[in-house]
Symmetry: C2
Subunit: 509 residues, 2 copies
């Protein structure tokens, strides 16, 4: 046998090299963390220029880490919405716990395969346990029947729920199946429906009440109408904190209707579901535990970095039935009450281990620290809404049922498109002050489509100081813009800046 | 306004705390790296015991990092298939570059949102550029029309291709569409087909030739038969290195047939596609660049830790057409030749940034280092196959077209189920020696279903020393088991160990 030498440029770092890299990276990222409060909450000037840095073919030779770190952290990262910033109140924040980033480091170096139980029993069980903690948080029974899977985010969690409901109720022939949604349903549901093969007309909108929550009576009427038309209703998607307005659908009443009609209830709690850890959240989300499936986004409600959603189900067997590739040549998996094969609970066979980035921060700090942080967000949002509504020409459009509320600045005599343009000017003015970052959304029905300013308090780094800045800066922007010529009725001179007033699609992170 | 104090147990580490954590973690992971060669390639004794460590509710109070690191790295990680080990030759290895783990650390601390271009233009462009490097690697034209998206793995890359082909060729009503696969097609394709709403009878198997490659003539016949039956053929899924045998379908001939019949050609190169970076790989994969879409798994062929697949497409516009939620109320995105919104190219709106874990290792070492490592794997696999086939009673079942080959130990007079059991005993014997880890697969048709021993050389840590160990240990196991009573014809006394001889489903990581 020929003896082959390893390549001259080995890819393997030894322990000392890894420690050196981590030392360099720690110094750079430590400075990033310490400098966060002094950075703007968003900085989009120079976007095209910074993007051009990355043009060109793959390098044949290497570059020292020091130079790459400087490029990434000092030059590239700042030109962005500063989604790690304490004053970031746009879209749905989360902040990104560095503890989870540490977990990802460990996960990657260990490089265990966790798609099945057998190859890495400890790390899979850690992930199972983290999912069970989430099941407990939403109020699922403490039995072995519930369960779920961690996903890359809410989009794929919603997709998994659609497939599980479709397979459970309809099987392979689902052309006459109908899903009920509302105007507040996150558009990832419509997208997932298309991906999993539902036609657009198989999504039926249910009317909302004036507070943007789904009307249970309208739901029942829509279900009856679909049945009369020969269709097969099988799924209702309710929102536990909608992205646009923060509205929480009446989950208990919807669960009643679903039970009566034999429909699968999926609750999209990507934004709001994790508030079930708090007493007030649990009250606002009453009925949540009756859902057949629930989407959570720990990268929102538990402050993880982007990349971790969760699909929870009351009956794990239904998820398994939908996602196990049951060909006769395949063996039985490890699955029993205590040992799950994640490959049988979702569409991914190869996937990154996602458990440690959730488990480690909870172990390091205790769930109590998360509960306290979520309670603080509820307090901060209420406090902010109260202070802002005390200002002249400010109208609350949707209240902080959880930690998200919407408002409009309404100068006398301004309406229609001019009023929308006024909100966009206020947003841009506020954001240009640099201490907080807000986004807007177009809402309605019910009512005409109108643009509102959103405030979402959900980063672990957001505290009273940022709320003070919000009230001061948004208040000043409202005053300035109300006094400006553009606020005159009917002039409509506002310009739209995508960065400052991202439209509804962008409110959906 | 009330003044709220931050919670007593803050979740925010400052820079010094992060550096301290990274110091502790670096020492522990550095020792892990340095100790890898002395660990066994797999260690599954104690699986149930280690899993029990994680029982119990979420802790209310925290635990110091030191104790958690010790638990994870010293106690939990070793009880597993050691997928980071240099002697790991089972399933499809990759090894898990610590450089990517470092990238994940950076990504998580920065916590930028990269689902759309605008919020983090630099980091999105970095990911776009990494995808373009992959497009170049597979031979796609150097124009602005091709593109793609990084996924969590090959499963979701294949799913994306199915959706794009379905939408492009069939639209919303696809009940009469037909997809052509072979017995070597990875089962994630069948699973993805089910997820995206295709009935099982919409997957049509095409016969393979004796070398396990798809027969182009049989493909043409199957397409014609489907059309005659009133169905709509729209997609062919070819394999560029199948998981079970390493077979590379005749891509150029299949591309000819697809072009003639107007079908979408998807090539699943999850295992083998990255070899296109080498001269020999490019020759073996001739025709790859004619595919409409290609799946790669950089967590295999570019040695990344689990969690990064890639879907590449010749026409990015087709991916965008399939995945853009085109409701009238949504704004135009940032998309143009140079600026892509990943949310419009796949099913995920929220998703982790996946670019840096691919970009950083290539920048640190240069693509040349990867090319050299892949070339080394080709050499090692050929060398191993040659040495093993020189042994008595060893028959090569499929050759190392790339770096994966299969063989059987065939003692005289042993056949049928007893021969399968013999392979399983050889596998278990080999694996128990601890220096390498192998898995098997059931193959056929063509020919009867039979169990074969697989060797897949793909970790960056695997060098000549591990091939020497493979040849010595597998050779000794073959000799031992051939001499053992169990190898007598017809006794069939072999037992199956899931750990030692994972069946075909498990050969699909």
């Amino acid at each position: 046998m020929r003896e082959l030498k390893p390549p001259a440029r080995p890819l393997e770092p030894d322990g000392a090299t890894l420690r050196d890299w981590l030392g360099q990276t720690g110094r750079k990222l430590g400075a990033f963390l310490d400098g966060l409060p002094d950075q703007p909450a968003a900085q989009l000037t120079g976007s095209r220029r910074i993007a051009q840095v990355f043009a060109g073919p793959a390098p044949e030779a290497g570059t020292p880490l020091r130079r790459l770190l400087s490029l990434l952290v000092d030059r590239v990262a700042p030109v962005a919405l500063n989604t790690a910033h304490p004053g970031y109140l746009g879209f749905i924040p989360g902040g990104g716990l560095p503890q989870s980033a540490l977990a990802d480091l460990i996960t990657g170096v260990l490089n265990r395969y966790t798609g099945l139980w057998m190859p890495a029993p400890g790390l899979v069980q850690l992930e199972i346990q983290a999912i069970r903690w989430l099941c407990t948080a939403v109020g699922y029974p403490e039995d072995d029947r519930c369960g779920g899977i961690l996903t890359s985010g809410g989009s794929l969690a919603n997709l998994g729920a659609l497939v599980a409901a479709r397979e459970h109720h309809l099987g392979e022939n689902f052309g006459d199946g109908v899903v009920f949604v509302s105007a507040q349903t996150h558009h990832s549901v419509a997208k997932a429906a298309r991906v999993v093969g539902l036609r657009r007309d198989q999504l039926v909108p249910v009317a909302c009440r004036p507070d943007f929550t789904m009307d249970p009576a309208a739901l029942s009427a829509a279900v009856a109408a679909a049945r009369q038309a020969g269709q097969r209703p099988f799924l209702v998607v309710a929102s536990a904190g909608s992205t646009a307005t923060g509205a929480v659908d009446p989950l208990a009443a919807i669960a009643d209707r679903c039970a009566a009609a034999g429909l699968w209830l999926h609750v999209d709690g990507a934004y709001g579901g994790c508030f079930a850890l708090t007493d007030r959240g649990r009250a606002a989300l009453a009925g949540l535990a009756r859902a057949d499936s629930i989407t959570l986004d720990p990268h929102k409600g538990l402050f993880l970095p982007y990349g971790t959603g969760a699909l929870l189900v009351r009956e794990r067997a239904r998820l398994r039935a939908a996602f196990t590739e049951g060909a006769s040549y395949l063996p039985a998996g490890s699955e029993d009450a205590d040992h799950w094969d994640f490959a049988d609970l979702g569409p991914e066979l190869s996937r990154p281990p996602r458990g440690l980035r959730l488990w480690l921060p909870i172990q390091l700090h205790g769930l109590g620290a998360f509960r306290a942080a979520l309670d603080e967000k509820l307090d901060l949002a209420r406090s902010a809404a109260e202070a802002l509504c005390a200002l002249d020409h400010v109208v609350l459009v949707s209240p902080p049922t959880l930690s998200l509320f919407t408002l409009q600045g309404r100068p006398p005599g301004v309406a229609g498109p001019a009023l929308d343009a006024h909100q966009r000017r206020i947003l841009r003015d506020t954001n240009q002050r640099g201490r907080v970052f807000l986004t807007g959304a177009t809402v309605g029905p019910p009512g005409p489509a109108r643009f509102v300013i959103r405030v979402c308090v959900l980063s672990f780094r957001t505290h009273q100081a940022q709320i003070d800045a919000l009230v001061a800066d948004l208040g000043a922007a409202i005053a300035t813009q109300t006094a400006a010529p553009g606020a005159q009725a009917g002039t409509g001179r506002g310009t739209t800046s995508a960065g400052a007033s991202g439209p509804s699609r962008r409110s959906s992170q």
